[in-house]
Amino acid sequence: MSKYNMHILVCGGTGCLSSQSNLIVENLERYIKEANMENQVQVLKTGCFGFCEKGPIVKILPDNTFYVQVKPEDVEELVKEHVIKGRRVDRLLYQDPTTSEHVEDSKHMDFYKKQQRVALRNCGFIDPDNIEEYIARDGYAALGMALSMSTQEVIDEVKKSGLRGRGGGGFPTGLKWEFASKNAADQKYVVCNADEGDPGAFMDRSILEGDPHSIVEAMAICGYAIGATKGLVYIRAEYPLAVNRLQTAIRSAREYGLLGKNILGTDFEFDIEIKFGAGAFVCGEETALIHSMEGMRGEPTTKPPFPAASGYWGKPTNVNNVETLANIPVIFLKGADWFASIGTEKSKGTKVFALAGKINNVGLIEVPMGTTLREVIYDIGGGIKDGKKFKAVQTGGPSGGCLTEEDLDTPIDFDNLIAKGSMMGSGGMIVMDEDDCMPAVAKFYLEFTEEESCGKCTPCRIGTKRLSEILSKIVSGKGTEEDLEILKELSQVIRDTALCGLGQTAPNPVLSTLNKFEDEYIAHVREKRCPAGQCSALLQYKITDKCIGCTACARVCPVNAITGAVKAKHTIDQEKCIKCGACMEKCKFKAIVKE
């Protein structure tokens, strides 16, 4: 029997895996075996640690050493030095960007200091493929507690916790459960929405990869509460690792009697089936998701009827998103009061955000509701990349809006974000700096929704296309003042008339950038100028008086747009110029400028 005195946790999330963390595990096992220490040192492939920017992550317990950006070839040194000799390998430690000091321990890293991991509690701690590790961290105890309560007590506990849906809508979870529980039917369903489609957001995938049992357990609790015996996980097929780990989790749970008949000796019966989606954004909308599961076209239908009354195959169905469900077991383990003590008045608990964009610490973070944007961006995120100036942050993905400098001290919760013209969404947070052009940002999002629109209702099918066309006109310098008026008018009508949440929120990126950066739009339209210098169609490369006539630029220009006599100032023919920037790069005298 092995008695480990050291555990090496290697991130097995999708990001780190693509940076060869599998090979790191293999190498660790090999060198440890060579050192005959396989009975003392355990190597574990865990879920995501969140600090994806610095992956692959290797964490060593019990001393909590946090190695970053480890390569397979670093392993030999790591084993010889750290494992065998007990000496830390400094070069692989995280280096504080401000002090340049090596930080040994994740607890002392700014990235983790302000985080509170509830939904992500097990990610990076346990082997997701091993049910016993989950059980060792009180896994399935919450299910046991729930089964000893009445169904109404279970619902009341969730209601009391104040948990709201993390998928975007922010609807009170307990209330949703209560609706489904009150609709009598011979069959009901619990559906886990794992169709994470918000570009840049990956918390649901991380939870399923790192802690799949928390979802299995939560679904069983929900099944008990609403009177459902069947659970379905709707997951996109492009999450193979999450699917795999979930399948393993479901299989183990069945083996351990935690799914199936007579769960934990009660007469409660529950099992889970996985349904695959093809990765359509709109299938995150619950009615579209249900239709997709039924084998129909993934299209939303008008509510009412709500799924709680008529969902999967017309039966009462409760749909919750992955992160929402991940909070459920903790609510029972630590109590609704504990959960409700975290967060703001109307938004309880924590929220996971996927930090991305022009920020130093890209990754997955979890903070109490009410944390300010400033804390997230500067303390946890380590500020803006390359010392540039913060401009805006897009929350809520393509359905959300942008927040600016003036919003930095706003506590983040469901209602504050909506009041600021954005939304929580599923928790994507894309940080933009001074180089980002806001009309171009809006165009990016509209191109996304235009493509992801199912095409069912007119405002979304044709309206998003028209919005995106107008934005394209604007960023290419062909926009008119009338276009700005149409943008506003059309956005408002789409918001008022679209059939589902996707369409209704699609104009948000336009409205919020227009609201906060109207001057940028006007500059594009009136002056044909892009203040951020991003829109290539509006850029002009010009040669200044610094030019000494060396001819280097003329020689590098691929379209022969530059002319001029030797030792005389050159000029660029704007008609011919394709704005590739090669001349500017070539010029040793900084004589070429972009404006």
């Binding site: 008008t302 629109s453 095409g455 028209r466 009338e482 008018e489």
Partner: protein, 584 residues
């Protein structure tokens, strides 16, 4: 449950729970514009996708606008159907639709019948500001023998899809692609001809725009009529006379048999005949087949197949060939009246009149689009050269400067123009089987049938059954109209015919031929179908002869040419065979 009160534009209205805002508004004469919505009450066709968003209204306490067609009323609901916000939103939505719609209204087949055009007129749209130079979603044009799909004009109302899947159970059409390129099409966007489409044309009947139209042949008819070397023979199906008048502003349900005949004669047809004559012949053949199968059955012949299914409806034939290939020996082998007419005209009549086959052009006027496809089936050897719809005939009459409404009533030519009341009712659900029973009764019992009206076989229910006493036999009859109902009955037969049906009549279109895909557009008014049905039964009642076998010209034809029903010659000319068709 008791009614609930809601307020619409300041007026209180009491409605049943479950009603929509649109229902409630109708009750007080507030006509909220709709486009995708369609509710053909009697045929269970309800398209409630709420996708066009033209019918949006303001509901107090609701953040966004609500689609009136799909929003159930709640007690105390306060609705505003004409606020500035609502009117503006509707206008923008309409502009969006128009921005992705071809502007060739002048030459569009649906012009004048287009619901999108109607809305543009109502809203007074003069300029399309949004998406003026925007992209257009364009698709490959798909032309089958019966239907033209010009999906550039599709507005994604999905009525055709609902019709094809829910009412007809054909499943040829569904939404494909996403976003701006979303469109309704057969699977993998194959052509209709390669799909399970039955060409019933019900999609065309409900399409609000010119996206789904019929394959027109008006000009081929004009060419034939202008050709001095051709003898052009026309036949008109029973349901045409009950609907044609609508195209000339006459009340739905007005019978225009005499005017139609007069118009056809003025158009220059050499012989104006009646498909009804062939319907009487169909009864002779199909009736004989029924009697034969019944007799063999009663005599204990184990090879006999019962029930016998009617085979007059070409869409129905297409349906069972592709969806029930294991039951091909159940339907009657009798050709449809259209094809029987073609065969009789080009054999019996041609020989009698000494007209060479190549000189004769047979034109059929049908309430149906599947007939166009049927006429093109190779096994029929172009017995029917051109098949046009009721709508096309109306266009032809208008083009030829004929004042239809003031035409005198004229009679069909003989011999192929004489018909009985039994053949007239072929045009409505229940009619074919009633006609067959009238003849079978007398053949089986040898007695005269006194009461010819079989009320128990009439009606509008999708699936009906009745037992008719024929001598000492209880004849169990099933009737279905609408292919989903047909499918249900066919599945029963596949599962051993538990209701012990002897004969089943099936018509693909809701209501039968009166509701065919080639009839004047009903624009969602299902009352029109009922009025046409009444007209058909009235025509039957007014006929002196009401049993097919009493038709003197039918008797003469059998005496002179076919000898008897199901004779060798009859088999060769008046019967057909079916083959399994594997389609997508």
């Amino acid at each position: 449950m008791s009614e609930i009160k809601i307020t619409i534009d300041g007026t209180d209205v009491m409605v049943a729970p479950g009603a929509t805002i649109l229902d409630a508004a109708k009750k007080i004469g507030v006509h909220i514009p709709t486009l995708c919505h369609l509710d053909l009450h009697d045929t269970k066709m309800v398209n409630q996708g709420a996708s066009c968003r033209i019918c949006v209204v303001e509901v107090e306490g609701r953040r966004n606008l609500a689609p009136a067609c799909a929003t159930p009323v709640t007690d105390g609901m306060i609705v505003n159907t004409r606020s500035i916000k609502v009117l503006h939103a509707r206008k923008v939505v309409l502009e969006l639709l128009l921005s992705d719609h071809p502007k060739d209204c002048l030459v569009c087949e649906k012009s004048g019948n287009c619901e999108l055009q109607d809305l543009a007129i109502t809203f007074g749209i003069r300029d399309i500001k949004i998406g003026k130079d925007g992209a257009q979603s364009t698709y490959r044009k798909d032309v089958s023998e019966a239907i033209v799909r010009d999906m550039d004009k599709c507005i994604m109302c999905r009525r055709c899809e609902t019709m094809c899947n829910k009412v007809q159970a054909v499943g040829a059409l569904s939404g494909v692609n996403r976003g701006f390129n979303a469109v309704v099409a057969p699977a993998f966007e194959v052509d209709l001809i390669d799909s399970v489409c039955t060409h019933c044309g019900q999609c065309v009947a409900v399409c609000p725009t010119g996206a789904l139209c019929e394959k027109e042949h008006i000009w081929s008819v004009v060419d034939a009529l202008a050709d001095k070397d051709k003898i052009v023979v026309v036949q008109t199906a029973p349901a045409v006379r009950a609907a044609l008048g609508e195209e000339f502003g006459m009340e739905p349900g007005t019978l225009v048999t005499g005017k139609m005949t007069a118009a056809l004669r003025r158009l220059g047809f050499n012989y104006v005949f009646d498909t009804d004559f062939a319907a009487d012949a169909t009864i002779m053949e199909e009736g004989a087949e029924l009697v034969d199968r019944l007799t063999r059955f009663q005599n204990g012949d184990p090879t006999v197949k019962l029930p016998i299914l009617t085979s007059c409806c070409p869409a129905w034939v297409n349906f069972f060939e592709s969806q029930f290939p294991d039951l091909l020996d159940v339907p009657s082998t009798a050709k449809s009246p259209q094809q029987m007419f073609g065969a009789i005209a080009k054999s019996y009549f041609a020989e009698k009149m000494n007209i060479p086959r190549e000189k004769m052009v047979v034109v059929s006027v049908m309430p149906c689009l599947a007939k166009k496809y049927e006429a093109s089936r190779p096994e029929f050897n172009r017995d029917v050269d051109i098949s046009i719809s009721t709508r096309e005939l109306a266009h032809l009459i208008k083009q030829a400067n004929i004042d239809f409404v003031n035409l005198p009533d004229e009679d069909f030519d003989n011999p192929l123009g004489e018909s009985t009341g039994a053949s007239v009712i072929f045009g409505t659900t229940g009619g074919v089987i009633e006609a067959a029973v009238r003849t079978a009764y007398e053949v089986i019992t040898g007695e005269t049938l006194e009461k010819v009206d079989f009320e128990e076989l009439r009606g509008f229910e999708g699936i009906r059954n009745a037992t008719v006493k024929v001598g000492n036999l209880d004849l169990n009859i099933g009737i279905a109209h609408g292919l989903s109902n047909a499918k249900a009955l066919l599945e029963e037969i596949r599962n051993g015919n538990p209701k012990n049906f002897h004969a089943i009549e099936i018509m693909a279109c809701p209501g039968g031929c009166i509701g065919g895909g080639g009839q004047p557009y009903h624009h969602g008014n299902s009352e029109i179908l009922k009025k046409r049905q009444t007209a058909i039964y009235n025509e039957d009642k007014n006929k002196v002869l009401r049993k097919s076998h009493e038709n003197p010209f039918i008797k003469e034809m059998y005496k002179d040419y076919f000898e008897k029903p199901m004779s060798h010659k009859a088999h060769k000319l008046l019967h057909t065979s079916y083959e399994a068709k594997e389609k997508m």
